[in-house]
Subunit: 120 residues, 2 copies
């Protein structure tokens, strides 16, 4: 992950509504949730939700797949892990005694999403 991607991801998360959406999806798991259900759970107008999902998607933090009429969004666990790793990179000049940095989240079971789905 480079700086530009990290800033994009952090900016995507640095907003009340988007943080709610992202955490809901993180908690939901790799199977994801349809946009309409997210809107219902968080009580958001469709247009506002769409704006924020798009933002998260461009930042690489969520992906989606179509299933019949529904678009099912899911957290991109891999991207999230990369972000956490980026923040703590080379922590304390490698002096693990004062700083045993670690930052991981889901697994490679991360999800059904292909890279193109994650980013497009």
């Amino acid at each position: 992950m480079d700086k530009h991607e990290a800033v994009a991801a952090l900016a995507a998360l640095a907003q009340d509504t988007r943080l709610d959406i992202f955490r809901l999806l993180i908690q939901t798991g790799p199977e994801g949730m349809p946009a309409g259900q997210i809107a219902e759970r968080l009580d958001l107008p469709a247009t506002t939700l769409s704006f924020h999902l798009n933002h998260l998607r461009h930042a690489g933090l969520v992906g989606f797949r179509r299933e019949s009429r529904m678009l099912i969004y899911a957290a991109a666990y891999g991207a999230m892990n990369e972000l956490l790793a980026y923040l703590t990179e080379n922590c304390c000049r490698g002096d693990a005694s004062g700083c045993d940095a670690r930052a991981r989240v889901p697994a490679s079971s991360s999800s059904f999403l292909t890279t193109s789905q994650r980013r497009s």
Copy 2:
């Protein structure tokens, strides 16, 4: 950490210059670095650096102490850990098999900073 604090911390990090500053301090370790040296390392005007340090400070991500004429800034490792934990909270509905979330960074050796120094 509540949502408000998390958004503040993420917003503080979601900016090129501030992300550079924060990572520099994370890599420097708990002993920190004087503002002037940060400015030199990142080639920033003093006024711009001060603006961004202030932002990071209000978000609780850095603290400082005075040492003679210099203000020495250091990363607030504890706050950072809380942020990472918040993002991954209740990951995948507790189904650790698909999602063994963990997010930790430095230790309680985090630094010389008191809570009031971190936040004020």
